[in-house]
Structure formats: C-alpha cells, structure tokens
C-alpha cells in the first residue's frame, strides 16, 4: 500500500542503512567539534521545501490545466508522446532514473530540496515551490542525480541500488545530514545552509549538486505554493505571465517578481 517511491524508501533495509549513515555523520561531526552545527542544519532542513524550475510556457500550461480550450488544442496536440518516443538524446538520464526507480520512474516528478525557494534557475527561470502538505505522502528524496550516483557507486543497469541513500519526505533532513555532514564544520553559519543543501556549480563544466525530490503522480495546479521568476520582455510572454499571476491569485499561491 502506498506510493512505490515512498514504499521503497521505507523498506527496513533502507531505513536501517540511513540510520547507520546518520550515526557515522554525527561521529564525524563530533570529531570535528561541529555536532551543534550539524544538528542546526538538520533542523533547518526539516523546513525545506520542494522547488521545481519551469519555463514560462510550461508554467502557463500547468496553471491553465483544466481549461477546455488549452486542453483541446494544446495538451491534446502536444501530449509529449513524441518526446517520449524520440528521446535518444536523453537516454543517459532516463536509463539512470530507471535503475534507481525501476518500473515507476516515468511517474515521478523531479524537484530540488531547497531552503531559499530559488531552485536551479538554469533549468527554468520560474522557481515553483510545492505545497508540502499536498505532496508529503507521495514524495521521497534521493541522495543526488541518479546518473552521478550510479557512476559513483558503480551501479550498472540491472544491479540493486545500495540502500541508505533515499528517504521518505519525513526523513529528508536525515538524508541531507548524512550526505552533507562532511561539508559542515564548527564555523558554518545558518546563512550558509541553503548553499550547502543546494550547491550551484561555480563553473560551467562542473556539476550542480542537490538532494532530488521525487513526487509520484501528476501535480495539480493546486500544489503550487509560490512562484518566483522574472518579468518577461516579449509582449506575448508578458501577456501569459500576467495571466499566470491572475491564476496564481485564484489558486491561493504567492509570487515574487525578480
């Protein structure tokens, strides 16, 4: 019973191994005299949110869903089916995801665990924070990008993924503490926590690093808590953004223009 990603994260071997990792993280913190900082970090991450980044067009489709006009002429004609059937360019990612979330990866929505609602803007200028209360039960978190994870742990297709690197939403802070404990020392301040939790690449060729949030099933527009994004420059884009703002108001979501 339950959503497959959450069931998997709650398997006893996953939970047990996560506890082992957490204990090791705290032992290491103790040795570095940074236990308090690590605890503070873990506490901060208890309040973290899932943020996904979207383009204006994708956001517009999302907030307009259910409108018969767009459904008839846009969603239907652009169902994404062709993208699925013609996605060789994205095989590396889909193959890695299938290894980490076998049998259900297609039903997962990916976002990043965040403390500052900014997300990863180069994957889409509009950062959408999801309502925790509406996603918590069907959401799990995973250590990092599955492709990098597989490479780091020499997991090849068909292998079992080692346990202890995923958690249910309720245990997200533990996973973050396991993963990022080594980056926290006795001088780390609370203000640095957002950048530690979601590390944006400093150079164009290095990797972004964040705890992946996997939410099972479609995300209704009512899961939107907050949108942060720029005012577009082109007239038709501005018209869409203005409409998005009106819809967000109706949906009870807040927004920031940057």
């Amino acid at each position: 019973v339950g959503f497959p990603n959450v069931r998997r994260a709650d398997r006893p071997e996953e939970v047990k191994q996560l506890e082992v990792r957490l204990a090791v993280a705290y032992q290491a913190a103790e040795a570095k005299k940074s236990t308090d900082q690590l605890k503070a970090f873990q506490t901060a991450v208890e309040t973290s949110e899932a943020v996904m980044n979207r383009s204006l067009g994708a956001l517009h489709s999302w907030v307009s869903e259910g409108g018969p006009l767009l459904v008839t002429f846009h969603s239907q004609v652009r169902s994404g089916a062709r993208l699925f059937l013609d996605n060789q360019w994205d095989e590396q990612r889909t193959s890695a995801e299938n290894t980490i979330s076998p049998g259900y990866y297609e039903n997962l929505n990916l976002s990043a665990l965040c403390l500052d609602r900014q997300g990863m803007q180069h994957y889409g200028p509009y950062s959408v924070t999801l309502k925790t209360s509406l996603i918590a039960l069907r959401t799990s978190v995973f250590e990092e990008n599955p492709f990098l994870f597989n490479r780091r742990h020499t997991v090849i297709s068909g292998d079992r993924c080692p346990p202890g690197f995923r958690a249910s939403w309720q245990n997200r802070a533990s996973l973050a503490a396991c993963k990022l404990g080594s980056k926290i020392n006795q001088n780390t301040t609370n203000g640095e926590f957002p950048g530690i939790l979601l590390h944006k690449a400093a150079t164009l060729t290095s990797e972004d690093d964040f705890v992946e949030v996997h939410t099972y099933g479609p995300l209704h527009q009512r899961t939107i808590q907050h949108v942060r994004g720029p005012i577009p420059r082109k007239r038709s884009d501005r018209a869409l953004w203005n409409q998005i703002k009106r819809r967000l108001k109706v949906l009870g979501a807040s927004r920031d223009e940057v």
Binding site: R54, Q76, S79, Y123
Partner: protein
C-alpha cells in the same frame, strides 16, 4: 548538428557538446549530457532537429516559440473567463506574431484538428475588425469550418483508437498528422469539394515507415473518398488492364475492385511514361477515361487527366504534360485546377502567350493566387526579376493562409537567386524552412542556394533533409550536383545513375550525368546523354545547350552552330541559348554575326506585356 528545441520553453540545446541556449539571451550554459533533459522538463513540445549552425537552431526555436505563443494567445482570446481587455491584448499579440512570424498557417493547422469547445466565446470577434484583421481571418475560417472539422476530427479519433492500441503511439501519430496539416487539408478539400486522393497518397507515402499509418489514413478518409469513387452495380472480376472491355467491366464492379483496377491502370500508365512509350501511354489513358465515363462526372475525369498530366511532368514527358492538361480543361472547364496545370505545362514549354489565356481563365474561376504565381513565373523566365518578385510578394500577402502560398513564397526566394542575391535568398529560405519544415521543395531550394554560395557540405545535408519530406528526384539531383561541383565525380555519377534509373526521362539527371562525363573528358558518353535528354525533353532548352557545348569541346563547330540556330528559333525567349549562340559566333571569328546576335538578344528581352 543535432539540437533539441522547445518553443514552449524558448530554449534550444546542442546535443554534442551539450550547451543550452535561450531565446531571451540568457548566457549559454554548458551542461552534462545526463542533465540535458532537466532543462526540457515540463515541456511537451521538445523535439530533435538537424541544423547547420547554432544560429539556425535559434531561428527554428524562435519560429516554434512564435507558434506556441500564437496558439496560447488565440485560445486565451476565446476564453470567456478572461476579462475583455486581457482578451483583446491576447488578440493583439496573435496579430503581432502572425505579422512577424507568419504563424497563421500553423494556427489553421492546429485549430482544424478539433472542434472548438462549447465554452469558446466568439462574442468579441467583431472587435478585431480594425486592430487584428489577420487574427480575425483565421478565426472566421475556423468558425465557418466547424461542422466539417467536427466530422473530420470524430472520424480521426475513432480510427486512431481502432488502429493504435498503445496510447502513446496514438497520441504521437495524431501529433504528426496535425503537424503536416492533415486535418486542415481534409477540411479544406471537403469545403471546396476537391478530390482528396492526392492528399491521401501523399500522407501514405510520408508515413509509410510507421506501422498502421496506411490503415489509419485509408480508414479515416474512406468515407470522404467514397463519394468520389466509382459506384455502380456489380460486374465480373478482371486482371488485365490492356483489355479495355475488362477494365470497363471492372469499373462497373464493386468500389474496391474498381479502385484496384484504377490503381493498376495508373501504374501501367506510369510504366509507359517512364519508357517514353507515348502511344502506349495515350492508349492506356484513353482506356482509363473511357472507363471513367461509364460512371464518373466530368469533374472527376478532369481531375484524373490533371493528375496524369502532373505525372507526365514529373516523369519528364512534356508532350503529354501539355496534351493531358489540355484534355483536362476540355473535360472540366469549370475547374481552376485544370487551368492551373495547363498554364504550368505551357509555361514549362515556353509557350507564354497561350499560357496567359489559361491564367486568365483560372483567375476568372477564383484561383487568384495560382494566377499571380504563374504570371510571376513568366516574368522570371523572361528575365524581369524585380517585377516577378513584386508580383510574388503581393500575391503571398493577399493570400497568407492559402495552403499553396508556400510555392509563391518559394518563387519570391528563387527570384533573389536569379538576381545573384544569394545571402538574401538564403535568409528567406531559412525563414521558410522554419515556417514550413515539412515542405521538401523548400528545403531543396535552401540547399540549392547553399550550393550557389559554395557551402557544399551544408547543401548536401540540407538536400538530405528535403529527401525525407517528399520526392527524392530533386534532392538527389541536388546532392549529385553538389558533389560534382566539389569535384567528387564518382559520388555524383552514382547519384545521377540512381535518379536516371527511377526517372529515365529526367533532363536534370541526364544533363548532370553528361556534365560529369564532360568533366572526366569522356565526351562521347556526354554526347550520348545530352542527345537522350534533348530527345526526351523536346521543350526544354537546357539539354540543347549542353549538347552544343559538348560539340564545341569536340571542335565540331558546324554541327554546333546548326543546332544552336534551330534551338534559338524554337526557343526565341530563352536568353541562355541566344547568348550561347552569340558567343559561338564570336569564337568562330564571325564578329558581324556575333554583334547582330547580341543585338537580337538585347532586343528579345525588351519588356513584354504580362
């Protein structure tokens, strides 16, 4: 290079190396390949395309963005839950996008694929009269066609469910059909009471690589085609087409049998055309028409003849191209398409005065765009390039949503080529390929300009794209020519051979092959091919020029001058021949004659009334 684009997101990315670009000029970002997909999350229009440069990718993405925004904005204009001022703002955005990015045809394609839902509010259309005339024209057409759209859409949805069990395949194929404007094509044809057979054949050919596509297209259009099919009581079976009596009996048979028989007849005619058996082809066509007369209307006979005339053109048999076009006009003088084919045939044979009469007839029957295009073509062929371009552009502007406007816009781009304004021509072609990415002839035109500019690699890859969107004849010839001009004669020869095998009368392939022989110093072989081309394309002056030049190479001046004198008489309006003649006279030191010939040449191209 391979790129992924999404108009919805306004982003595009090269795949190798993976670099992400955006239309709003954010800094380009190098990504890891495994992260490329993240940038396209939430977009359902991402697609792979082949382009020559990253700038070209940007243009394709921009066109895709404009299409996406046009559709969203026009739908928001129809949304009654929006306030009036916002709806008018959306309409003005659509107007701007139609003007700046020619998104009108895309909108018609999309809006023809499903009926407007009952909640669509048409109450504000009259407020678009002044500020948004192009948007209003699109909406008027869609509103007028609603009953037809409903029928076409219902039939398609039901057949999709029948043929494709997998939902993704179903959706994917539906998207493909919408992209090529299939629903719109049917809606237009039904509204105009036109024959849809050619459309159906085209789609079957286009999607032949997709399992189930043929079955779907045939069953989807069956109800629409059946009205135009022979429908007479039963008759015996027949296998042999040569026997007129048996084919007539087949016509009187079941619809299916009659259809199969007609297919056999057409295949036999094509075979005769390929072998240039003119008498045999005539006999078969006479039989086909006699069969049709048993049960079909003059309208259908006219269309059959028109189609056959077009087939003759494609297979390089100009005599029958003209002859059958004339027969088509006689059979159905009220159809502008028959006149359009006739004018095309006459223009191709440089019989401009006769062509004008056909052009006037088609114009009087309402085909104003085709008429303007034909006039512009004559202006082009007589060297009046500036005027030709003006006529092309004015015609396109007056008929922006006509499905054939692509040919007119292509004509305008070709004129720039004629005037050696290659960069401008390339720029126009690039825009056209973005707006009409499935039109093979436009890709071929773009490739030809690239070849003019000496960009042979890009030309060859662009011809390859063209080959995937239509007949292989032109792009294969194009590739062969590119190889030839790059000095890769073996590759060129191989491709020309392939075309000649498939289209044995094609003068471009024959002359191209002859030119390769010339370059290789094999003048005898060149002479043979040029002679075949002259014989098989008696209304085309290009092979004669090749033949004359080869005779000059062989220093057989007397034969050359005899031939060119006759050719100049036969094609008095062909500047190339006249110029070649003057040059030949000069080369023979016949300076007085050469001067007179140049004077004639200048005189011939004094402005003529069009």
């Amino acid at each position: 290079m391979e790129v992924v684009i999404s108009g919805q997101a306004g982003i595009y990315a090269s795949v190798k190396p993976p670099v992400l670009y955006s239309l709003d000029n954010r800094e380009a970002i190098s990504l890891k390949t495994h992260n490329l997909g993240l940038a396209f999350q939430g977009c359902n229009d991402a697609k792979r395309v082949q382009v020559d440069t990253i700038d070209q990718a940007r243009e394709v993405c921009e066109a895709s963005w404009a299409n996406d925004r046009s559709l969203r904005c026009i739908l928001m204009f129809l949304d009654s839950s929006e306030v009036a001022d916002d709806r008018l703002e959306f309409a003005e955005c659509v107007e701007e996008l139609i003007s700046d990015f020619s998104t009108g045809a895309f909108l018609l394609n999309q809006l023809s694929c499903s009926p407007l839902p009952p909640s669509a509010d048409l109450g504000m259309l009259d407020r678009l009269q002044e500020s948004c005339p192009q948007t209003l024209a699109v909406l008027h057409q869609i509103v007028r066609d609603q009953p037809i759209i409903e029928g076409v859409s219902e039939a398609l949805q039901s057949k999709l469910k029948e043929v494709f069990e997998d939902g993704r395949q179903r959706s994917s194929f539906f998207e493909l059909l919408v992209d090529v404007g299939a629903s719109r094509g049917l809606v237009d044809a039904i509204r105009d009471n036109s024959n849809i057979d050619m459309l159906v054949m085209r789609w079957i050919g286009q999607f032949r690589h997709i399992e189930g596509a043929r079955r779907l297209i045939e069953s989807w259009t069956a109800g629409m085609r059946s009205k135009k099919r022979i429908n007479v009581p039963s008759a015996p079976d027949t296998e042999e087409f040569e026997d007129f009596e048996s084919s007539r009996q087949a016509a009187a048979g079941s619809g299916r049998r009659a259809f199969e028989q007609a297919m056999k007849q057409q295949a036999a005619i094509v075979s005769k055309l390929k072998s240039r058996d003119l008498d045999g082809a005539r006999r078969f066509v006479d039989d086909l028409i006699a069969t049709q007369k048993v049960s079909s209307s003059p309208e259908h006979i006219g269309k059959s003849l028109s189609n056959l005339s077009h087939e003759a053109k494609e297979l390089g048999v100009p005599e029958l191209h003209i002859e059958w076009a004339e027969e088509a006009v006689k059979a159905n003088p009220s159809d502008p398409i028959t006149f359009s084919h006739l004018s095309d045939a006459l223009i191709s044979a440089f019989r401009f005065n006769e062509a004008f009469a056909a052009i006037e007839s088609m114009e009087s029957l309402g085909a104003s765009l085709a008429a303007a295009s034909a006039r512009a073509r004559i202006l082009r062929m007589t060297g009046r390039f500036e005027e030709a371009r003006v006529v092309y552009l004015a015609a396109a502007q007056s008929n922006p949503f006509d499905p054939t406007v692509t040919y007119v816009l292509q004509g305008a781009a070709e004129v720039l080529r004629d005037m050696s304004r290659y960069e401008e021509s390339l720029s126009e072609y690039t825009k056209l390929t973005e707006t009409y990415p499935l039109e093979g002839s436009i890709w071929a035109g773009r490739a030809s300009v690239l070849m003019d500019l000496g960009r042979f690699d890009e030309a060859i890859s662009t011809f390859r794209i063209s080959e995937t969107h239509g007949s292989a004849r032109v792009p294969k010839n194009g590739r062969a020519t590119a190889y030839k001009r790059r000095g890769e004669l073996t590759k060129a020869l191989k491709l020309y051979d392939e075309v000649v095998r498939e289209f044995p009368n094609d003068p471009v392939a024959l002359c191209g092959r002859a030119e390769v022989y010339r370059d290789q110093g094999n003048l005898d072989a060149a002479l043979i091919d040029f002679r075949i081309a002259v014989e098989r394309s008696p209304f085309t002056p290009t092979p004669i020029m090749g033949l004359v030049e080869t005779l000059i190479d062989l220093r057989r001046f007397n034969e050359a001058i005899d031939l060119i004198n006759k050719a100049v008489q036969q094609f008095p309006l062909h500047a190339g021949l006249a110029s070649l003649r003057a040059g030949l006279l000069s080369r023979q030191s016949k300076f007085e004659d050469a001067l007179a010939a140049y004077d004639d040449l200048i005189g011939q191209f004094a402005p003529i009334e069009v």
